[in-house]
């Protein structure tokens, strides 16, 4: 039964004969299709695509957009995702015809402006991370991790060493072990200690002649700075391994500390997080990778170089390269947005970004610590985790709290991650939120904590105001419906 809040699919709006396009005419002499293609390769049944007018199209997608929450819609403290403001000038720049309408195989002399952007971004990201060179090719953070691990593998192999173990702390993102697997390596998980930091003794015991690398997010996923990083780097390097920096949380350290100075050999950045390339509803991202000089030979080809005459060129001659990891030169449009952001902020601006991100996070953490369990009571960086264990005793789960936040127009924090905190709420306010927004959110969180005690059902039954209520995810996975079919109606 259709409810008035249910939105029609574009296919359900379709009527034969309606069009929403205007193609150029056929202005060359027409040839019979049978003379051009073998009969069995000519399509028999056309694809059942929608047939709607242009206004119907716009109304459909506009209505869909109103059923979606973005950073411009409201506060979005999704931990580890850095949902900061997406500057509008970035969007304008990416649409300039000189950037949007250029082909990757145009002669280099015809794309000097694009090459200059890439060169400058390589240089700026190397400086920001303290690395010697950067590849811009990886399309997202996970692709960056894999690229970095493949380079680490090539480095060890070039020295005739078989090192296959990648050590990750148990607070790591799931992508870390997944990337290790597809780079042909195995994951060893080590525990965190009572401080929420890597257990140094466990690390000492885990390293050995088979250690390829330690993969670390710093600040880690609890929002805490791994203060023993220098000692950790020493342990790993002395064992012959390398250090990989997962840049998911780089928003806390811009101009404050650089992975290269902490002892990391490889680092990726998520430009869609720290450097404002928008998240796009799940992508596209960009995951550039920086390396120390010892790994330079293994960078994917090409990289952009500046020639003696001041012009820019792609450098392909990289015999020890791990190969290509992405077609062309990466997600140029996202790289361009990141560079525009760097040009907006400059060195002092980026420093203030991290200072304000950390100030915002600590302020929220302290004000919420009374009502929610704070599992690691120390200074946080750009994000922090709370635990809903107190509320759980009242029969209210963290998931319920997340759903209740929807009623107030907020996107909830990341929940149930990292895995090492029971009933976890991972909150990252970012630096672009005002104190008023933080205060309003804090008040709502405190109100929800009171509701958990006084009227738990209000929280347990949330959300109350959204276009759909909680959805049956179990059935969705058990009996998957992954596409629309006309005959199903």
């Amino acid at each position: 039964m259709r409810n008035d809040k249910e939105k029609a699919l574009i296919f359900e709006l379709s009527q034969p004969g309606r069009v929403g396009y205007s193609l150029p005419p056929l202005d060359v002499p027409e040839t019979e299709i049978a003379d051009l293609l073998p009969e069995h390769l000519i399509r028999e049944t056309p694809a059942e695509l929608p047939e709607v007018s242009e206004l119907q199209l716009m109304r459909h997608y506009t209505e869909l957009s109103t059923r979606n929450h973005g950073v411009d819609s409201g506060f979005y403290p999704l931990g580890s995702c850095t949902m900061k403001y997406n500057p509008k000038i970035n969007e304008d720049v990416a649409r300039y015809p000189g950037f949007a309408s250029i082909h990757p195989y145009q002669p280099e002399e015809t794309v000097q402006g694009a090459l200059e952007v890439l060169y400058n971004l390589q240089r700026d990201l190397a400086e920001i991370t303290g690395m010697d060179a950067v590849t811009l090719q990886p399309a997202a953070g996970a692709a960056g991790e894999w690229t970095g691990l493949m380079m680490i593998r090539a480095y060890h192999e070039s020295r005739g060493e078989k090192r296959t173990k990648v050590i990750v702390p148990n607070s790591a993102h799931g992508t870390n072990p997944a990337s290790a697997t597809i780079a042909g390596m195995e994951t060893i998980t080590i525990p965190s200690d009572e401080r929420g930091l890597v257990d140094i003794e466990a690390l000492r015991q885990a390293v050995g002649p088979d250690t390829a690398a330690l993969m670390l997010t710093n600040p880690n996923t609890l929002g805490l700075f791994e203060e023993d990083i220098v000692e950790m780097a020493k342990i790993v390097h002395e064992a012959g391994g390398l250090l990989y920096y997962d840049g998911a949380n780089a928003n806390a350290i811009l101009g404050i500390a650089r992975p290269g100075d902490m002892g990391f050999d490889v680092v990726h950045l998520n430009l869609h997080k720290t450097f404002t390339g928008p998240h796009g509803g799940g992508g596209p991202g960009a995951g550039p990778v920086g390396v120390k000089a010892s790994l330079l030979p293994y960078l994917p080809a090409p990289i952009v170089v500046k020639q003696e005459d001041g012009s820019f060129a792609f450098h392909y001659e990289r015999p020890e390269s791990i190969g290509r990891v992405k077609a062309y030169y990466g997600n140029f449009g996202i790289l361009l947005r990141a560079y525009t952001y760097i040009c907006t902020m400059g060195a002092e601006g980026l420093l203030q970004v991290s200072q304000n991100a950390v100030l915002n996070a600590n302020y929220m953490m302290r004000r919420l610590a009374g009502a929610y369990e704070l599992p690691y009571d120390r200074v946080c960086k750009h994000e922090f985790v709370l635990s809903g264990v107190r509320q759980k005793k009242l029969g209210v789960r963290t998931l319920d709290i997340a759903k209740r936040l929807l009623d107030f127009g907020y996107h909830p924090p990341t929940v149930y991650f990292p895995l090492i905190v029971d009933e976890c709420l991972m909150i990252e306010p970012t630096e672009t939120e005002s104190k008023e927004t933080l205060d309003e959110f804090i008040e709502v969180m405190l109100q929800i904590a009171r509701e958990c005690e006084e009227t738990p059902e209000v929280v347990q039954e949330a959300p109350h105001t959204t276009v759909v209520k909680r959805l049956d995810e179990a059935t969705a996975a058990r009996k998957p419906i992954l596409r629309y079919r006309k005959e199903a109606l």
Binding site: T66, G174, V468
Partner: protein, 451 residues
Amino acid sequence: MQYRYLPQTDQDKREMLQALGIQSVEELFADIPRDIRFNRELDITPAMPEPELVKYMKGLAGKNVNFDTHVCFLGAGVYQHYIPSVVNHVISRSEFYTAYTPYQPEISQGELQAIFEFQTMVCELTGMEVANSSMYDGPTAMAEASMMAAGHTGKKRVVVSRAVHPEARDILKTYAYGQGVEVEEVGYDRSGVTDLEALTQAVDDTVGAVVVQYPNFFGNIEDLAEIEKWVHSKGALLIVKANPVALGILEAPGKLGADIVVGDMQPFGIHASFGGPHCGYFATTAKLMRKMPGRIVGQTKDEEGRRGFVLTLQAREQHIRREKATSNICSNQALNALAAAVALTALGKQGVQEMAMLNLQKAHYAKREFAKAKGMEVVFTAPFFNEFVIKLPKAVKDVNKALLGKGFIGGYDLGRSYPELADHMLLAVTELRTKQEIDSLVKEMEAIIHA
């Protein structure tokens, strides 16, 4: 200095520090050891006020020859096609582009439904049963498909045609090395399609997957029906990397027995943007559904019986399965998938066929004109879609340089990736090229060659 993206005033900061019981922000960084603190200013591009930045960026953009300044006959995997105006208007809705992965379905129904519709469109075009929500691009989708096939069949050998995009093959080799999969290439024949004899010799019971492109890198149309018979007789999976525009007129790979169909949606509503971001698509059979990489949207119901959409089959994914996940992909190309869905909606059932027909007809007209022209030779004889190869008596690089002066972006220099095809140019003719532009290109190239 106060920055427009940073709202905290000095007063705000004072109040917040007071609430924290500290004197300065610096105290919040006391846990970072002194000797690794960065104690100078970053040496990066200096900050610019917005008007100056606009000028700077327009200056950089202005250095690039582009589709507005020149007539483009370059393709080779990235194409200039008609982009309906509505595409930019929809993807500029910030509810879409400033959101992230729809993990909270109640406030992400717009994105989820749009992607569900996208998945349906991919299934319709490719003739497959299921599709995911997007991959980074066509080449990485092809590499992931190959790894999935090797994993599924347990046969760690993949055979790929040399008539597949050279960069896609390069990426496949990188992925394959990582996962211990062997890649073998088979050549193309004189007509410009995969050499079937070489293919049958290369593909035996130890091969897990065979990868071909449809139309192939030279624009020629592989006979999937023939290839499919041999591939399946040896127990391998058939992976087809297809140009989705061509599927407006070519038989759907799913109907011809493909097990996995991948490709790039760039031709539908996505700017060339110097090679990215584009949008990989990935479709397969219901049988292989749970082996698919990437995010998938599924239809379900809410507590009150309303239709709704959620991310589903997440037990395959890295955030649940960690080292045992089907792939490490998490961020994908969602906004570009939306762009493709909007373009496919605008074009619709009729427009997609009409667009494919225009490409086919115009490219064939152009090839006929080149065949008539003096000094150039059309090389391959196989049926083709919107790209074809010509042999020049001069270096492609030099011809392209001269063409630039005449207002054209010339074709792809095949010698870059096929040593045996030095002096061969791959030309693309889309629906946007007019008869006059085609005639003029032929005339100018004749003149350049005879100069």
